[in-house]
Symmetry: C2
Subunit: 546 residues, 2 copies
């Protein structure tokens, strides 16, 4: 079903029903066909029509809020259509010595289901265990993190008190940037982290963003970035944003430097509808945005990939209250609503959302929030079970103080998955580019002074096609010119470029490797980069002061 | 003069009087000796005792707000002690074809003065011109950006309306991180930016932070970071923070992941007194913080180096209102107060600050802010000159609704500079470390599949001391194990590590370069890193999924 003329509030609701973009959809099983007929809560489908969702309750308060969310979903008829398949992830798996935090069997379940519903999970400190959250995103290439930030009734914040109602979303690239975790100690004193931004990675996230914006009827999308400093990497992110926008002419675009964005968000957050950002900046800005609507306890999150998607509460495991039945399940319920829409249970999702909003506006609250001005507010907060029972009681009602979700007559499931790939997929943007070697950057672990380094480098390169063109330290040029006020560390970048008379295309990389070999006789070479031009465009930045 | 028992408000005021940490102070001229005696506004010092400050009014609204700030300072007696020496920077210099945006003569003036008072400057679009702001920071190694965020009377914000009064500061590392701007296109589709964090760079900023905290009587300092993802680089930043803290046992420390920090800052900003962060994160968080107190128009900024310090307004040049005499000079005045304290004019600074606060609380305002509830509020805003005259009228008064700055009986100047260095200074932390080669990471520009790359790499390394240990793509392992759901780009990292039987220390880097040379026969090697252990500790990260 296609919702007509969506209201502001409605907009961010149906998004996940249809935002997977697939060029050649294949139904892996009978789901799609089976769900084309009317879906009602009173008419359970036949067993053969059931959907499967991988279930990962999580650690700490995870199991109790997951039980609560599922109890609510069951009352709304979700279980008539869905089987939740248990998996093993998180602490129990780490405790068995599995440093990945997920069993092979559970990986297979996730791959089979294509959808994961996940509570918060601990990352064990020490012992080499990595965050399951990050591992899942990487393992299943869920390249887009989609988060919605909406003012909820009864959830008091600095902004709600100021009468500012929010309803916007952030798309965060979920794979690249410094999150590859590629780090090297290059000298005694210098450590490097590689920040990687690829054109096809940008294209994926920007297409996702515009498709989603189109579904939601959003009129303007902003790209947040730091392209004034990271001119090539974030420059690429911004260029590909503009390129992707051309296929969505009805959507206006804007771009904003991330520091200005954060200032704007605290001064006047209601000016944004949707923002797409690189990974680290998106991480920071989306948690800021969660703060604007009350914190992580009220902000749902979806990690969307081509094949597999993960819906999760991104707050912590709250070990201090775990097992006491006091936790607030709102973020997990909201993430679950995104999931229900993703698998096409639009009617159930809208019904649950209206019940949640009705309960919240009546004053129902757990111990972490609450507005005494609301009619049904009780000084004693509800525990987790009471909170969910309060929502269940409102099933079928619509909120009065905020715009209700529009409940469709029926659901139109669109969940379909691609077949399991036989190997890794290559994603590419730029092909048939002609590149030529024009030099190399060689990085030295050395405590020598800039003039001493320069002298050695000129000697090493004298009989090669390359001349020493600059030396920089921490990005600032220190040779041939520079300032005596520049403080240097024991890690130099030495740039060699083709001598006059050697045209690009006439010298291969072997001459650069040979130069490196020669320098390695006297210096520790901690790092190296080939300098090339791509279709005539320089593929490297200048030094500050060059 | 040492202020006793500083109040919360007093704390952040005197900071810049004494926060330069110098191991062996040298007075470059007669300033220090001359200014030891009492400094009063009524007793101008002799010409030989005068201070020099390099003046850069800036572009757009820069000249008019600088004139306003200087008029105010003159009325408060500052010019009895200070000569402001004009420099040429910014648009006028760019327009002459100088892409650095500062003349050589002006560089010499800055070096001679040691202090710069600076208005906002344009960065020309296109033409290769770089931001003068960034160039100055790099050129003069002003490694610490110190910014104070204080709620001002009459400046309405979402937070002031909620009754939240703020008074905290952020120290941002100003040289390292991705701000070196070292970027390379490594394949058709992949661009890299180097994120560099050095131990001595961390030590500088953390020592500055703790010294400043001690001066201000701050009880707890937080380190913001992303060490859960950038485990080595931000891990180093956090480790050196903890190491530096040991010399300041009276100051409690805490650390907070930057995304959580941003959420906390919008939910409950008053929980922080001082936060130190790496460059990019500090950039983002300090602009967020400026938003909490009304924006960049109310947030002063100082860039502090060992030899040279720059005090500037960080807002834009506002070309739309430039030349109309309408601009708000508050941020520049506040930055100037930091400067006056830095050069020891404590009494003048406190007097001006009290006059500013008195004027603001009376309702004086320019067109960009104002609180109609204040007694002297006028619907028609003051222009720049009227605004400054309104402050001048309050000289000698103290604010009634906020804690006034304590006006010392006399000023105790502490401004002294080191002699001009003869060459670049080396800064070092870890010396006498024993490192051994244990392998290398070689990065390929290749569209082949992971198994095809693996086969070639095994063949190339078969007669070398190194064995192929992993292949990753965008940080995620794709060989020997991996997921078919990992999407790959045309840029691989191939890791070679010592075969069994080859002990660390027995194989030199030349064998790694030889392996690279061999691989270069068939593949384009876009990048390379030597893998080493340092005092037995692995100097490189594992791949995700390894």
């Amino acid at each position: 079903m296609r919702v007509q003329s969506p209201s502001m509030r409605e907009r961010t609701k149906n998004v996940l029903a249809t935002f997977s973009e697939r060029s050649s959809p294949h139904s892996r099983n009978q789901r799609t066909a089976a769900l084309k007929g009317p879906l009602t809560m009173s008419a359970p489908s036949k067993p053969s029509q059931r959907l499967k969702i991988a279930l990962a309750p999580g650690d700490g308060i995870g199991p109790e809020i997951m039980d609560a969310a599922l109890a609510l979903f069951k009352e709304a008829g979700v279980h008539n259509h869905v089987d939740f398949v248990p998996t093993e992830m998180g602490r129990v798996v780490f405790d068995k010595g599995n440093t990945r935090g997920i069993t092979d069997e559970s990986v297979r379940i996730v791959e089979d289901c294509g959808v994961v519903f996940k509570g918060p999970m601990e990352t064990p400190k020490g012992g080499g265990g990595k965050s399951v959250n990050v591992t899942l995103r990487k393992l299943f290439s869920t390249y887009a993190n989609f988060r919605v930030f909406k003012t909820l009734p009864g959830v008091q914040t600095v902004y709600s008190k100021a009468g500012i109602n929010l309803d916007f979303s952030i798309v965060r690239e979920n794979i690249e940037d410094t999150y590859g975790g590629v780090e090297h100690r290059l000298s005694n004193d210098m450590i490097q982290c590689k920040r990687l931004i690829s054109a096809p990675g940008c294209d994926q996230i920007h297409r996702f963003t515009f498709h989603t914006a189109r579904k939601l009827g959003i009129k303007k999308v902003f790209c947040g970035h730091k392209a004034n400093i990271m001119k090539m990497t974030d420059g690429l992110f911004l260029d590909r944003f503009k390129a992707a926008a051309k296929d969505f002419p009805e959507i206006e675009i804007g771009d904003v430097i991330v520091d200005a964005l954060c200032m704007n968000l605290v001064i006047k957050p209601q000016q944004y509808q949707m923002i797409v950002l690189p990974n680290l900046q998106g991480d920071i800005v989306s948690d800021l945005a969660a703060g604007l609507v009350g914190g992580l306890g009220f902000a749902p999150s979806a990690n969307i990939g081509k094949n597999i998607s993960i819906f999760e509460a991104v707050h912590g495991t709250a070990p201090d209250i775990a097992g006491k039945g006091l936790a607030n399940p709102t973020a997990l319920i909201l993430s679950g609503l995104m999931m229900l829409r993703h698998i096409g249970l639009l009617k159930q999702a809208a019904t649950i959302e209206n019940a949640l909003l009705s309960a919240l506006e009546s004053g129902l609250h757990t111990g972490d929030f609450g507005d005494p001005a609301l009619p049904g507010y009780t000084k004693e907060p509800a525990n987790t079970n009471q909170f969910v029972r309060g929502i269940v009681e409102k099933l079928g009602e619509k909120p009065k103080t905020v715009t209700p979700a529009e409940v469709p007559e029926q659901s139109t499931p669109t969940f379909e998955t691609s077949p399991r790939p036989e190997g890794q997929t290559m994603i590419r943007t730029f092909v048939n580019i002609v590149s030529h070697v024009v030099g190399c950057d060689i990085y030295l672990d050395s405590p020598l002074s800039p003039p001493a380094v320069a002298e050695e480098m000129m000697r090493a390169s004298q009989d090669t096609p390359f001349k020493l063109s600059l030396i920089s330290n921490r990005g600032t040029q220190v040779w041939p010119t520079g300032s005596v006020y520049t403080e240097c560390v024991d890690y130099y970048r030495v740039r060699f470029e083709l001598r006059e008379g050697n045209l690009p295309g006439t010298i291969g990389q072997s001459r650069a490797v040979a130069l490196m070999d020669k320098i390695a006789e006297k210096f520790t070479i901690c790092s190296y980069e080939l300098l090339r031009i791509f279709d005539g465009v320089r593929g490297y930045s200048m030094a500050q002061g060059q």
